[in-house]
């Protein structure tokens, strides 16, 4: 057994960390929330460094990498609340398996693509749709592509670029695309769990840093077990989430039969872990953590939004139970 990243994947994670740390200040998420800017680093920068095409085949101008390759990068994106999401790239790359020309435009950033949830005549708030110009949707069982009219609502987490879309033109890419659509959504769920992993990990670190400095009653608050144990529980969740994300990402390429259960497990657990970690970081900071100026709520917002995107925990826990009972655990 070798349940660990490869050296190449570790190098890729380190490179991604450097890229995102350098190009995505948290002030960008804040500015976007205040209607005063757009999510960083933005589509062009993500395309230029090759992150939008990690899972696009080399023949279509991508890197031909695995979902796990993408997940280790997505974790770093999540740590700084980067936008647009690599979930969109991952999901679109699956949907465009039969459309290499569009996949190439996804990878090089020449098309601003979003994937719509819900009816194409009026979608649910969908990830990265706010600034997209080309939309993929499921219409009567067929995968369609086209343009649309975009209606963003007031954002809770502006880095997610959520908007409802009414498609104004539709071209069928794949008839009978139900299975393809489901697999793309599962891969998207895995990558979202990876982004949640990065965000939760960073939130725990912020909490630990503060707990090592802030003094109360004559000593640092991290020495009190009431505070320490909260942070430990959040950290244990992060550590275990990393295991589920790696497993599910590995399954996407190497064991497709395991993907539905593994993706549902990772998504449900990611939602819970990110919520706990980001609520913990607010609580550990006390009053300052509740202020608009502090960054804690930017992470909290990400968790509160992500937990409901691509299916909530109730949907995914039900899927895990049904799949297991049907024999998916062997």
């Amino acid at each position: 057994m070798n349940f660990d990243l490869s050296d190449d994947q570790r190098d890729a994670a380190a490179g991604a960390r450097e890229f995102f740390t350098g190009s995505v200040p948290l002030s960008a998420a804040r500015a976007a929330l205040e209607g005063d800017g757009v999510p960083a680093p933005g589509r062009k920068a993500l395309a230029d460094i090759g992150f939008l095409g990690i899972t696009v085949p080399e023949s279509a101008g991508g890197a031909g990498g695995s979902v796990l390759d993408l997940a280790v990068v997505a974790e770093q994106a999540g740590a700084v609340l980067a936008g647009p999401s690599l979930v969109t790239a991952a999901r679109a790359a699956v949907l465009l398996e039969g459309a290499p020309d569009l996949a190439a435009q996804l990878a090089d950033g020449s098309a601003a693509i979003a994937v719509l949830d819900g009816p194409v005549t009026g979608s649910a708030p969908s990830l990265d749709a706010a600034d997209a110009t080309l939309f993929l949707g499921l219409d009567g069982g067929a995968l369609v592509v086209g343009e649309g009219e975009v209606t963003p609502g007031r954002p809770m987490d502006a880095t997610r670029g959520l908007a409802s879309v009414r498609m104004t033109s539709r071209r069928v890419l794949t008839e009978d695309a139900g299975e393809l659509w489901a697999r793309a959504r599962q891969v998207g769920a895995v990558v979202m769990a990876a982004e949640d992993l990065g965000a939760a990990d960073r939130a725990v670190l912020m909490g630990v840093d503060y707990a090592q400095q802030r003094q109360a009653f004559g000593r640092v608050i991290g020495s009190y077990q009431a505070v320490k144990h909260m942070l430990v529980d959040a950290w244990v969740g992060v550590d275990q989430l990393r295991s589920l994300v790696w497993w599910a990402a590995w399954a996407a390429d190497d064991s497709p039969a395991e993907l539905p259960l593994a993706a549902a497990a990772a998504k449900a657990y990611g939602a819970e872990v990110a919520e706990r970690a980001t609520e913990t970081v607010v609580q550990v900071h006390g009053g300052i953590g509740f202020t608009w100026e502090h960054d804690a709520h930017l992470y909290w917002r990400r968790a509160k939004v992500d937990r409901l995107l691509l299916g909530d925990a109730a949907e995914h826990l039900d899927a895990v139970a049904r799949l297991a009972v049907a024999g998916a655990l062997g």
Binding site: M1, Y224, S243, L244, Y269, L317, A321
Partner: protein
């Protein structure tokens, strides 16, 4: 990344399977979750371990000179997995193999090693670990059982408690206080004690789950020869740390489930879900899904630790997270299992006499306490992994006899 054995691991696993098959008629086998009472099945359990030891499957990573195979921790884990798969119960001497033996190897004399270790592996002697006391559980170094030098012997008086297997044990490693005038950690000394010696009294304790796996042990003027000391006088804490580090490797490590497995919950759900009302089924599936996710999260985290072992590393303090996660999962799995029983969940057993889920439920509180309480493990993780400072302590440097006051 892959979940397959390396060629070396695969061939070792095949070897283990063939040995278990060859000796199947000489080994005890039990149903999944079936409790095994060490007292009533002592002879079968000892025989089973002896057969396995003679086949080279016990103490695999121990040096050859002490009866081991000079193998790896991964090989040990593979043996554990295959014993589970073949439904051979936990070895009767698991405390001896996991904790007492490694302590004797690290701190015993050549004479002690040659007298004890080979017999321990064959379960000719069963061992127990005499650490906790009524007044010192998590705060182990507060123990009061005294050993006083008298000629070539030490005379021991006091009481130990929660001692797993003491009721069938032949020997134990015993942590005592030999110098109450020194600070609590500095006045301790470790011994090997003969559990059949005059003055040793063992009384089984019944757990809330109904079984009796552990005991209280009384020492009344028990004489231990100085040659049975492990380490120098006053070095007992350092010796005990060897034992506790090995305990951490033994519990909650390489991807083995702490409570009932996710597969057993799945099988139970397949059986029981259809009998519930539709609206109950929805809620039960939520509980089952949540429990399975927690179980899988703990299992795959264990696989990461297994990989560390496989690459020649040793588990660090983060291994404590394995027991915390495993305990949380065990709680959810047991709860979901009981809830699936529907109206029968309020009874101690179902109409057909099966009480496995009720027992699992009543066992969970013990899991959260034994081998490091959830709270102690959180302190270890908070301090050693997250780097948060410990709570201030007033009792660390004062003489133990002062009661912790300077």
């Amino acid at each position: 990344m892959d979940f397959d054995d390396t060629p070396e691991e695969a061939s070792f696993r095949a070897h283990v399977r063939s040995v278990l098959q060859e000796h199947a008629s000489e080994l005890l086998h039990v149903a999944p979750g079936e409790p095994v009472d060490a007292r009533s099945r002592e002879a079968e359990l000892r025989d089973t371990q002896r057969v396995l030891a003679e086949a080279g499957l016990v103490g695999v990573p121990w040096p050859r000179e002490y009866g081991g195979q000079g193998g790896t921790l991964v090989q040990q884990a593979i043996v554990g997995q295959e014993l589970g798969r073949a439904r051979v119960p936990t070895l009767i001497n698991h405390i001896g193999i996991g904790m007492c033996g490694p302590t004797v190897i690290a701190h015993g004399s050549d004479d002690q090693r040659s007298r004890y270790l080979a017999r321990l592996l064959r379960a000719d002697d069963v061992w127990c670990q005499l650490f906790s006391e009524p007044g010192s559980g998590s705060d182990l170094a507060a123990l009061r059982t005294s050993a006083v030098r008298d000629g070539e012997d030490w005379v021991v008086n006091g009481q130990k408690v929660w001692t797993t297997l003491a009721h069938v044990a032949d020997y134990g490693i015993l942590l005592t206080r030999t110098d109450p005038e020194r600070p609590k950690h500095a006045g301790l000394t470790m011994f090997v004690v003969d559990m059949h010696a005059p003055g040793v009294t063992v009384r089984p304790l019944r757990q809330m789950s109904g079984g009796a796996d552990f005991n209280e042990v009384f020492f009344d003027d028990v004489r231990i020869p100085d040659s049975e000391r492990l380490g120098e006088p006053g070095e007992g804490w350092r010796v005990a740390l060897t034992t506790l580090m090995n305990e951490r490797v033994a519990i909650g490590g390489a991807g083995s489930d702490i409570g009932p497995s996710p597969e057993s919950l799945t099988a139970h759900a397949r059986d029981r879900l259809p009998a519930l009302a539709p609206e109950q089924q929805v809620l039960a599936r939520q509980a089952v899904g949540r429990a399975l996710v927690a179980s899988l999260a703990a299992r795959y985290t264990g696989y990461r630790r297994f990989t560390t072992l496989s690459q020649g590393g040793l588990p660090g303090p983060e291994a404590s997270a394995g027991k915390l996660g495993g305990t949380a999962a065990a709680r959810l799995v047991a709860d979901a299992g009981v809830r699936l029983l529907g109206d029968e969940a309020v009874l101690g057993a179902t109409a057909d006499g099966d009480d496995s889920w009720q027992r699992a439920q009543a066992y969970v509180p013990g899991i959260a306490i034994a081998g490091g309480t959830d709270q102690v493990l959180r302190n270890i993780l908070g301090e050693r992994v997250l780097g948060l400072p410990p709570e201030p302590r007033t009792d660390k440097s004062a003489p133990f006899s002062s009661g912790g006051r300077r």
